[in-house]
């Protein structure tokens, strides 16, 4: 009996340890989604909060403007080494996907938009960058939702990536940088067909 308990304890400890180091992986697309009851938030399975940002031409945009499309939403800053390291991979992903149903939105965090833009331009990246209106490094929670409330703590660390489906549901979240974004080409393309039957 003692031996059985010991074995159970060991298995539990190993499972807990394994859970703590499991990397973010793509999960099968949920088949039964109840969009009416999904909470608003930044977790996978939440409805992405609507918020405001600006184009390079200073036109105001909202995330909800992209309803009906798949959004690859990426938060970054040229001051952040892990962010810089993965931009070439994201550029490659962007060019490989090349699908009008998928919108890439890269938002600068904690630095002036001009700085982010200059960094991208100098290195010849074509990724669509937008202005989060963060205004500088002292503003820790720089973005506001459509009601003017600050976007909460979840976005404090960068880089951070979300894939949002046609209905505004977060179907993928990546905290921190990745080095193999291009392996997600088919996965992200599949969100188009996977979420199509759900979209009214």
């Amino acid at each position: 009996m003692i031996r059985l308990h010991t074995c159970t304890l060991i298995i539990v400890i190993f499972m807990l340890t394994a859970c703590s180091v499991t990397p973010t992986v793509w999960q099968p697309y949920p088949k039964k989604l109840d969009y009416d009851t999904a909470k608003t938030g930044w977790k996978k399975g939440n409805l992405a909060p609507d918020f405001k940002f600006k184009t390079v031409d200073s036109n105001e945009k909202r995330l909800s403007d992209y309803e009906g499309k798949i959004v690859f939403l990426h938060f970054w800053g040229s001051w952040c080494k892990p962010c810089r390291r993965e931009i070439p991979q994201i550029e490659s992903l962007y060019k490989q996907i090349d699908n009008p149903d998928i919108e890439f939105i890269l938002l600068n965090m904690n630095e002036e938009f001009e700085t982010s833009m200059a960094w991208m331009k100098k290195r010849g990246f074509d990724l669509p960058i937008f202005n989060s209106m963060s205004g500088g490094q002292s503003d820790k929670t720089p973005m506001t939702d459509v009601s003017g409330n600050r976007i909460p703590y979840a976005l404090e660390y960068v880089p951070k990536t979300f894939v949002i489906d046609r209905n505004g549901l977060i179907v993928f979240r990546q905290d921190g940088s990745k080095t193999n974004w291009t392996s997600y080409v088919e996965v992200i393309k599949n969100v188009i067909t996977e979420s199509e039957h759900q979209y009214p």
């Binding site: 031996r3 010991t6 074995c7 304890l9 060991i10 400890i13 190993f14 340890t17 703590s20 800053g77 001051w79 952040c80 080494k81 892990p82 962010c83 904690n110 630095e111 500088g136 490094q137 002292s138 820790k140 404090e156 660390y157 960068v158 880089p159 951070k160 905290d175 921190g176 940088s177």
Partner: protein
């Protein structure tokens, strides 16, 4: 079986130690030393706590907590930049000239902190300016 259990518990304990150490760094990754060099000159030195990764590229934004009490040189807020990589050795970031003013006030330093190789964030530390009689 007992050895295996002991080994597992040891690994778990070590993991907890590493976690505790990370939480300690997370608590205050940047150490700041202040010193009056003379009557009107305050020196600030920065150092990374316990191998914490403090980004140099994001710079160090210094703001006065009470802007009304002190005329700073350079004028605050001011962003100090040192180059690329991480803060490896101690850096002097500010030698502020403070005019004759009896008030003590505080400073806020905002900096880029990377808790791992994969992510970074901005963090702030507030510090009080030491009294001048400690010169």
């Amino acid at each position: 079986m007992l050895k295996l259990l002991t080994l597992t518990l040891l690994v778990t304990t070590l993991n907890q130690s590493v976690l505790a150490e990370m939480q300690n760094i997370e608590k205050e990754p940047l150490l700041v030393k202040t010193k009056w060099l003379n009557y009107d000159k305050l020196q600030l030195k920065l150092q990374a706590s316990n191998q914490a990764k403090i980004s140099l590229e994001s710079g160090f934004l210094i703001e006065a907590l009470d802007k009304s009490e002190i005329i700073w040189s350079p004028v605050l807020p001011h962003k100090f930049k040192f180059g690329k990589g991480y803060l490896m050795s101690e850096k002097v970031i500010l030698e502020a000239k403070l005019p004759d003013n009896p008030y003590n006030t505080g400073l806020r330093i905002t900096y880029g902190y990377c808790p791992s190789e994969d992510m970074c964030k901005y963090q702030s530390v507030d510090l009080l300016i030491p009294p001048k009689q400690e010169i």
